[in-house]
Every structure is written in C-alpha cells, then in structure tokens.
C-alpha cells in the first residue's frame, strides 16, 4: 500500500499537543505501508515552523534546545525540518522533470508538478498548494509504476472535495481516523 502524506499529518506526528498526534504516530509507525511525500511538504512544514517560532508558539525539549540554540534562526528551522523528515520511514519524491509550455510563442521549461497542478486547477476546486500536493501525489506513478492508494490528510478543504478528486484523478483523499478504521489498527 502506498500512501502520500500531506503536511498536516507530519506536523501532527511531531506535535504532541495536536488532537490527532497519537493516531498519526500510530499510522506512521506501520512498517508495511510505503509512505511518500513531495518536496512541497518540506517547504510547507518549514514555513509553519518559522511562523510558530516567530510567534513564540512552539516549545522544544531542553535537550533539543541545547543542540540548536547556537544556530541562527533560519538554520534552526532547517535543522528541525530535516530531523523530522529524517526520522520518518518516508520517501521524498525527487523532481521528475521539466515540461515545456508555450505562452504567446515563448517556450518555458517548468517543473512538472507545476504544469500538472496548472491543469488540475481548472477542474478541481482547490487552493494552489492543495493542487501542488495532489500533483506531487500523482507523480508517484512516474517513479513506482503504481498509483498512490490514499492521500492522507486531515485538511477539511481537501476531504470535502474527496469525491471529485477521486473521480477525476483516481486518488482517494482520506483522514487519519478513516485510515485507522480501514487498516483496523
């Protein structure tokens, strides 16, 4: 089973105050599931950490503080982000290539997550970063020859559009609670 992880699942896995923390920890500890995500998830994760850190809304253990306090703030964010992704049994999808698009007779080479997201945007009612995440999940097939079985997220906007996403691109958005119930864990 291949599952694409949305950013909120990874944040919840490490934030012990999150209401889905235990469920997501339990899910991500399953060794028989292949978890994947796109680099956009790392960007979003780091961006949220930066915002929480700036607003003084995140607390680290003394042990962690001791190791990172001498680093400049932007390096602290990168360090925690890379630690979080490095601790998970998770593959990060590499860039798969550039697509040529032509606008007003000019050729542009664009990373193909963006061209896919651009095409999806016209028929999925989603926000820009949702579209890029869904496009990343679609690219899994390019690397594994298999579609992702589920797009794991607790984002209400994506889950509310689950049917239309499933119908158009054959990827099933699912919440942590629903996945736990399907896997019977």
């Amino acid at each position: 089973m291949i599952i694409y992880l949305d950013t909120n699942i990874i944040l919840s896995h490490f934030d012990k105050t999150d209401h889905f923390h235990l469920q997501n920890k339990n899910l991500l500890d399953q060794n028989d599931i292949i978890y994947v995500t796109g680099f956009i998830t790392i960007v979003e994760f780091a961006s949220i950490l930066a915002r929480l850190l700036k607003d003084n809304q995140i607390q680290f253990s003394n042990e962690l503080n001791k190791l990172i306090h001498k680093l400049p703030e932007h390096d602290q964010i990168k360090t925690i982000t890379e630690t979080c992704f490095g601790r998970l049994n998770l593959s990060i999808l590499p860039a798969s290539g550039l697509e040529k698009i032509i606008i007003n007779k000019k050729e542009y080479l664009v990373e193909n997550s963006f061209t896919l997201a651009y095409e999806l945007g016209s028929y999925l009612n989603l926000r820009t970063l949702d579209l890029i995440q869904i496009a990343s999940a679609m690219k899994v097939k390019h690397f594994t020859n298999f579609n992702v079985d589920y797009f794991l997220t607790n984002d209400k906007n994506i889950l509310n559009n689950a049917q239309i996403i499933r119908k158009n691109i054959k990827i099933i958005p699912i919440s942590s609670i629903e996945l736990i119930s399907i896997l019977k864990i």
């Binding site: 949305d6 950013t7 909120n8 699942i9 944040l11 919840s12 490490f14 934030d15 012990k16 105050t17 999150d18 209401h19 889905f20 979003e44 961006s47 949220i48 915002r51 929480l52 607003d55 003084n56 809304q57 995140i58 607390q59 680290f60 253990s61 042990e63 962690l64 190791l67 990172i68 680093l71 400049p72 390096d75 990168k78 360090t79 925690i80 890379e82 630690t83 979080c84 490095g86 601790r87 860039a95 290539g97 550039l98 080479l109 926000r127 820009t128 970063l129 949702d130 997220t153 607790n154 984002d155 209400k156 906007n157």
Partner: protein, 92 residues
C-alpha cells in the same frame, strides 16, 4: 564540437526510445543531449546568502537529533495541525 562516448543500460535506452516514439525527440542523440542540457540547467550555484551557514556542523546536529530516542515538540497554538497548514494555504 567534441564527441563523447556513452554507455547506457537497456532500461534507460528503452525509456529514451519511448520518448522518441511519443515525438518528444527526433532521435537518441537529440534526446540525450536535450536531457543532459536540461539537467545542467537545474544545477544552480548557491545564492550568496546561503554561504554564511556552517552546513557541516548543522548536518552533524541533524544526525544527532535523528538518532535521539524520542523527538517531538509542543505547539502552544490553540489551532490543530490541519488548521495551521490550512491557514498557510489560504495565504496563497
């Protein structure tokens, strides 16, 4: 223009031939040249502001943190992870 001999395995060559069949490239030579140049274009030099960091020490810290038995943090925000990320997405 110099010529470079190249060894390529059957699986990769098949992928290239499929791209030629799809009309993406005229022939193997054009495909390999184009793919190589595209890849070269992606190899960017670091920006000036990236050069200040002591990347080696930072990576040592990351490795130490990855091997720690427990690792988590606590957010003081009243918002859930999906709301925090959702808010971020609303901004774009």
């Amino acid at each position: 223009m110099p010529t470079i001999p190249l060894r390529i395995d059957d699986v990769d060559l098949k992928k290239i031939d499929n791209l030629i069949k799809k009309g993406r490239y005229k022939n193997r030579s054009q495909a390999i040249k184009k793919l190589l140049l595209d890849k070269l274009q992606q190899e960017t030099l670091p920006f000036e502001w990236q050069e200040d960091s002591d990347e080696e020490s930072r990576i040592k810290i990351v490795n130490k943190l990855i091997s720690m038995e427990n690792f988590s943090f606590s957010s003081n925000s009243t918002k859930s992870s999906e709301d925090l990320i959702g808010e971020e997405r609303e901004r774009y």
